[in-house]
Amino acid sequence: MKALDHKLWRDLWKMKGQALAICLVIASGVCTYVMLISTMQSLNVTRDMFYGDYGFSDVFAPLKRAPENVARRVTEIPGVSQVETRVVANVKLDVRGFPEPVNARLQSIPDDGKPVLNRLFIRRGRSVDPAKDNEVIVSEAFADAHRFSPGDSLGAVINGRWKTLVIVGIALSPEFVLQTRPGAISPDYKRYAILWMGRTPLGTAYNMKGAFNDLVVTLSPGARAEDVISGLDNLLERYGGLGAYSRENQISHRFLTEEFKQLQRSAQIFPVIFIAVAGFLLNVVISRTVSTQRDQIAALKAFGYDNLSIGIHYVKMVLLIVLIGVAIGIGAGIWLGRGLGRIYMEFYRFPYLMYELKPSVAITAGMISIFSALAGTLFSVRAASLLPPAEAMRPEPPARFRRTVLEHIGLGRVLSQPTRIILRNMERRPVKTMLTVTGISLSSAVMIAGMFSKDAVDFMVDVQFRLHHREDMSVTFVDPASKKALYELKRMRGVVYAEPFRSVPCRLRFGHRSYRTSVEGIEQGSRLYRLLDMSLQAIDVPRSGIILTDYLGSMLGIRGGDMLTVEVLEGNRPEIRVPVAGLVKQYIGLMGFMDLSELNKVMKEGNAISGAYLSVDEKYRPEIYRRLVEMPRVAGAVVRKDEIRNFYETQAEALLFFTFVASVLGGIIAFGVVYNSARISLAERSRELASLRVLGYTRGEISYIFLGELACLTLVSIPPGFVIGKGICIYVAKALESDLFRIPVIIGNGTYALAAAVVLVSACLSGLIVRHRLDHLDLVAVLKTKE
C-alpha cells in the first residue's frame, strides 16, 4: 500500500489547484455552519447562564397601582414560586451636550440593593444608597453610548419634577439584554436608558409608598405560565392590571429568541448549498482523474491489486481533500464565530460571552461533508475499481459529437468553426453542463440570500418611516389628556402642524384566539400617520369599525366584516365588540386602528388623546426638545430621523459583516466551479487546442474557443442564480415571519448587480489563471502522443 500512498500524494500535488478550490468550497460550508451554530449555541449558553445566575423572572405583570400586601396573595396563586414587586416609571432625561430627547425606564430595586429577581450585574461602581434620593444605576449600553462613569450626573424629569441624578453604578440585567424602547424597531443606546433607583425614593416620587405598579414572578417547577398569567390577571384586574405576560413575550427575551431562530435557519440553508456544490465538484474531478488514470488502474490490477484496494485509494483521495477543507472550515468558523459573537455583544448586553464550540458541531460538520463528498464520488470510484484490466488498458473510446440544436434549426450557417466547437462541447454533456450552470448559479444565489436582509430592511424602514410615519417627532403624554394638550403643543414656536393620537392597550379576541397589543385612534384625513393598503397606497381610517394589521388578521383568523372583541386593559376596562373594516400592510409590529372620535366614543372618555405627531421647523428643533423636557405632561418624545439614523448605526456593522461574508463565500463557489470546469476541460482539450495553435490559430483565437464556453456557462447561470436566490429569500422570510416583524422579499438591483459582478469577477479570475496555462501549451508534445 505504501507505493499507492506515494501516488496519492503526488496525484494530489499535481491537482493542487483544483483540490484547493474544492477544499475552499467545503471550508466555506463548514465555516458558515460552525460560525452560525457556535454563535447561536454560545449566545444560548451565555443567555441561560446569565438568566440562571441573575434570576430572570418568568412572568411579568404591569399594573396601575396595588398595595404591597397584594404580593402575599400572589404567592398563593398555584405555580408561583418567587414574587417581587417594583415601581416602574417612564421618564425624560436631559443629557448634557446631547440636545435630543432621551427617554428612560426608571425601575426600583429594593432598598438593600439586592433584588430577588432580575438581579443586577454591577459592572462598575456600586449599588444605590437607600438613604439618598438622587442616586441611580444606569444600564451599561447607555453609559457606554454617552461615556458615563460612576460619579457623573444627568438631569431627569421625575413625575413632573426636574431632578439631578448621580450615577453611582453601571449595570446589566437579564431583563434588558436587548435594551429596546417599546415600539422601537432597534435598540437605541443613546436615546433610551434603563435606570435603577432605590425603592423608597422612587416610591415617594410616584406616590407609591407601600404600593407597587409592576410585579415579576418565577414559576415553581412544572407550573404552566398560562395558569399563572390568568391567576394574576384575575387578581390584578381591580388594581388596574395591564395584562400579565410570560417570558416569551418579554421584549428582550423575544428578540433574542428570534435572532437565534434566524441563526438556526441560516445554518440550515447555507452549509447545505456549499456541501452540495463541493460534492458535485469532487464528482467531476474524481471522475476525470479516474478516466485519465485508466491505464494505471489497469496496470495495478494486472499486478494483482484487488478492487477494494483500488477503491480505497480513490476514497482516500476524496477524504484527504474533504478533511483539509473541514479543518480550514472549522478554524475559519471559530474565527468568524468569535467575530460575529463580538458584533452580537454590541447588541446584546451580557456580562460575558461564553464562546464555545461543542465538539459535536465540528463532528457533525465533518461527517456531513464526508458523507456528501463520498456520495458525490461513489459512482466514479466504483467505476474505477470495477474496470476490467484489459478494457482499462485501452484508451477511452473517442468522444461522440452531434450537430447542435442551433444547427438543426438552421443557424449553423452563421456559426464559425470555433463557435461550433463551443456549442457542441456544451451539448455533448448536457448533465455536466447543467450541473456546472447550477453550481455557478448557486454562487449568486448564496450572495443574494446573504445580502438580501439589507434591501429588505431598507424597504421596511422606508415603509415604516417614510410612508407610514411622516411626522418629525411623536410626543407621548404621561396619562391620556384632553385635546387642550394638543393646542399647547401647537402653540409652541416651531411646531408647524400637529395631529393627535390615542393609544389604548388591549387584548384582541376572535374565537379562541387572542393577542395583546394596542388600538391606535387616529383622526380622519391624518397626514402624519397614514395607513397603507396591501399595495402600500395611503388610505383613510374608516369612520366605524376597526382596521387590523394584515398579519394580525391572519393570526386571529379574522376577515373583514367579522366582529372582533376588544378587551381594553386600562381605565374602566370596557369590553367592546367592533366589526373589522379591513386589513392594512405593516411590516413591524401588530396593531388595530380606529377613528379617533369613534374610539373615544366606545371608551366613553370624551376627547382623550395619548399624544401627538408633530411636524416642526428644523430651525427650532433644539428649542422644542428643551420645552418638551420641561413639560410635565409629556412622558417622552421620539424623533423620526434619529430613529432611522440610529437604526442604521446599530445595524451597519452586522449588515457589513454579512455582506462581506456572503460575497467572499459566493466568490469562492463561483471560483471553485469555474476554475474546476476550466482545468478539466483544459486537460481534456489541450491536444485539440494545441493542434489549432499548430494550424495557425493565435492564442487569442484558441482562448475564445476555450474561455468562450466558460463565459457562456457563466452568463447562462446568472438568471437562474437570481431565481434560486429569490427562492431562498422567500423561504427565509417566511420562516422568520412573526408578530414582531415580517421581512418583505425585496431584492434591490444593486444586490443583483453585486451578485452578478462577484460571479463574473471570480469567473474571469479563474479564466485568467487557466489562460496562463493555455499560453504555455507544448505544441510539439501533443503532436507526438496519441490521446
Partner: protein, 246 residues
C-alpha cells in the same frame, strides 16, 4: 488553381528553406540533449523531400523548426529569404497560418467538428483558401464530408488531415510520419494523396519517415543520424506510391 505558381519562376528552382549550422539543444535538467548538431540544407520549390533516419536522429526537430513550432538554439533558418530564427511567437503563428500545412502521425483532428468543418477550421483563417469541398475531393473524401472523426477510419482521418493541410494552398506541406499509425494499404492511399498534391499543386513537401521504402517516391532523400545530415540522395525518377510496398 494556380498550379505553376512556384515552379517556373526564373533560372533554376527557387530555394524555399535554407538552414545554416542549425543546432538545437534540449536542456532536460542537468542533461543536455543535442538534437541537431549543425544542419546545412536547402529545400527547393515544388520538390518532394523525404527525411529518413532512426528515432532520435533529429528529423522531427528539424521539421518542427521548419514549421515554426519550435525555435533553433543556434544557426539560421530562412524561409523565402526571411529569417525564421528571429521570429517571435506572433510572426511564427502568422507564418504557420498563411504558409505551412501540417500533417501529423496522429491526425490531430478536432473531434467535435465534421470532416468538412475540420477543413473549414483552417480555410476560415487563411488568405486565399480552396473551398473545403474541393480540398476533400483532392483526397477522395467528398462523400464523407459530414462525418465526425469518430465515424471515420484511421486512413480517412489522415486524409481529412491532408485536406485540411492543403486547403489553405500552403507554400510548404510538412508531414511527420503521416503513415506511422496506418497499415500498409491505407498508408499507400494517404501517400498517393500527398503525391498528388505535390504533383498537381506544386507544393513543396517534406515527409518524415523511418520507413526506407517510402523514400522511392521522393525527388530527394535526406538521411539524418545523430543530429547531422549523413547523405543526400537524388532519385532519378519518382516511384508512384502504388508501387511502394512495406
Amino acid at each position: 488553381m494556380d498550379i505553376t505558381r512556384l515552379q517556373n519562376d526564373s533560372s533554376g528552382p527557387r530555394i524555399v528553406f535554407r538552414t545554416r549550422c542549425l543546432t538545437k539543444v534540449y536542456e532536460m535538467g542537468a542533461l543536455k540533449v543535442h538534437a541537431l548538431r549543425g544542419i546545412d540544407l536547402e529545400f527547393y520549390a515544388g520538390e518532394l523531400v523525404v527525411l529518413l533516419g532512426p528515432s532520435g536522429s533529429g528529423k522531427s526537430t528539424l521539421l518542427n523548426i521548419l514549421g515554426g513550432l519550435d525555435t533553433a538554439s543556434g544557426g539560421q533558418v530562412t524561409y523565402l529569404g526571411k529569417d525564421l530564427t528571429r521570429a517571435g511567437d506572433r510572426e511564427l503563428t502568422e507564418y504557420r497560418r498563411y504558409h505551412v500545412g501540417f500533417v501529423f502521425q496522429f491526425y490531430n483532428l478536432i473531434p467535435s467538428l465534421t470532416a468538412i468543418e475540420n477543413v473549414a477550421v483552417v480555410t476560415e483563417i487563411a488568405n486565399k483558401p480552396m473551398k473545403p469541398e474541393d480540398a476533400l475531393a483532392v483526397v477522395g473524401l467528398a462523400d464523407r464530408q459530414d462525418h465526425f472523426p469518430s465515424q471515420l477510419s484511421g486512413g480517412e482521418q489522415q486524409r481529412v488531415a491532408i485536406a485540411r493541410a492543403i486547403s489553405k494552398n500552403p507554400d510548404v506541406l510538412l508531414c511527420d510520419e503521416p503513415t506511422g499509425a496506418l497499415d500498409s494499404a491505407t498508408g499507400v492511399v494517404v501517400l498517393e494523396a500527398l503525391e498528388r498534391v505535390n504533383r498537381e499543386l506544386g507544393t513543396t513537401t517534406v515527409i518524415i519517415t523511418h520507413n526506407v521504402d517510402i523514400a522511392g517516391m521522393a525527388d530527394r532523400v535526406v538521411h539524418l543520424s545523430n543530429g547531422l545530415v549523413t547523405t543526400i540522395h537524388k532519385n532519378t525518377s519518382r516511384k508512384s506510391p502504388a508501387d511502394l510496398h512495406w
